[in-house]
Subunit: 180 residues, 2 copies
DNA sequence: CTAATACCATACACAGCTGTATGGAGATTC
DNA sequence: GAATCTCCATACAGCTGTGTATGGTATTAG
């Protein structure tokens, strides 16, 4: 029969991502995770060689969901709507706890920093393309993409959910920045 | 005679801030710090009640230097120059390792978060005032101050020093955003 | 039915950090 | 010059986390 009480590596990664978003990198340890999942560390060390392998797997999993979120932004702006407007609306209304956790981690960890930088490049290229599609010169579009993306990072880091009116004002300003 | 080989609490704080900027919050522990200073933890526990008291003292010290940096930005724009331009020039050419470390710390620590939020409010108010002094309406100035400050945070977090040309382009764009 | 395999519990040795208790050396005060 | 105070070293107990070794249970293969 299917043993549903058996754990897979993905189960550990799911718990790891959830814990990372809630309590940060410092909570990404074998024993607390095992206690939270109701098993012993024997399971952990069966699925992962050691802690750093688990960390690497967590980062790989995050890279995939982060890249997925990019194309999700593209998809949501499918038809006639302004893609940049849709993207900003979505991004500045989410909670971004996982984003914040990974970047906090990346501040002083080389592996996490590499993952973050890879995602940054993809997102920056995408935003820069959206701005250039609005008829902005290449060099100006690069600077403005940086500013928009930094603003997103600052918002994600501060973790203060905006009031609805304030959010719309900010998004309107950002769109205004992108267009001219 | 003056015992220059004696340590004061301030010596520990200086070493703590340096270590925080270089290796992050996770390196803010008594034993590694003592080893780095060539003494034993006996000195640490004489000057500080426990680790959390040391952490609180570090945060207090950071609050003071962070607030100091604000008025330093004001002072540097003393005479006829544009104060906001001077501020942006300075801010986007610094390394900001300590800023990055404290914010990484604050992502999942209540005490650090309180310190960061206090500094954020002061800086935001100051930037918003500079923007309003340029003849921008209050509500718009608030949104633009948020964007400019977030951009600063994003830059501080990414920790990629900009090339000179790129920095000047970004600062020019930010000034353009502030003015209209 | 037996053997192999997947998955996990338990136990052990080890390391790093905390906090405290105790004592000691150097300076200071009277 | 004895006592006191300041500052630090040492030693100890305790906790938490790591990694491994070993064994057990349940499922699957033959």
């Amino acid at each position: 029969m299917a043993m549903s009480d058996q754990l897979s590596a993905q189960d550990w990664l799911d718990q790891g991502l959830k814990t990372l978003a809630r309590r940060g990198f410092s909570a990404l340890k074998a024993e607390p995770l095992a206690k939270a999942m109701g098993v012993s560390r024997g399971s952990f060390y069966w699925h992962f060689r050691d802690i750093s392998a688990f960390h690497a797997a967590i980062l790989k999993a995050w890279r995939e969901v982060a890249a997925e979120a990019i194309i999700a932004g593209v998809e949501s702006a499918s038809c006639d709507a302004d893609p940049l407007a849709m993207l900003l609306q979505r991004v500045f209304s989410e909670r971004l706890a996982l984003e914040r956790a990974v970047r906090s981690w990346a501040a002083f960890d080389a592996a996490a920093r590499a993952a973050v930088q890879a995602i940054d490049r993809r997102r920056l290229d995408y935003v820069e393309g959206l701005i250039r599609a609005r008829g902005v010169a290449a060099d100006v579009a690069q600077a403005r993409a940086l500013i928009l993306y930094w603003a997103f990072l600052g918002y994600a880091l501060s973790d203060r959910p905006l009031a609805k009116a304030q959010r719309e004002a900010v998004v309107a300003e950002l769109l205004h920045i992108a267009s001219l």
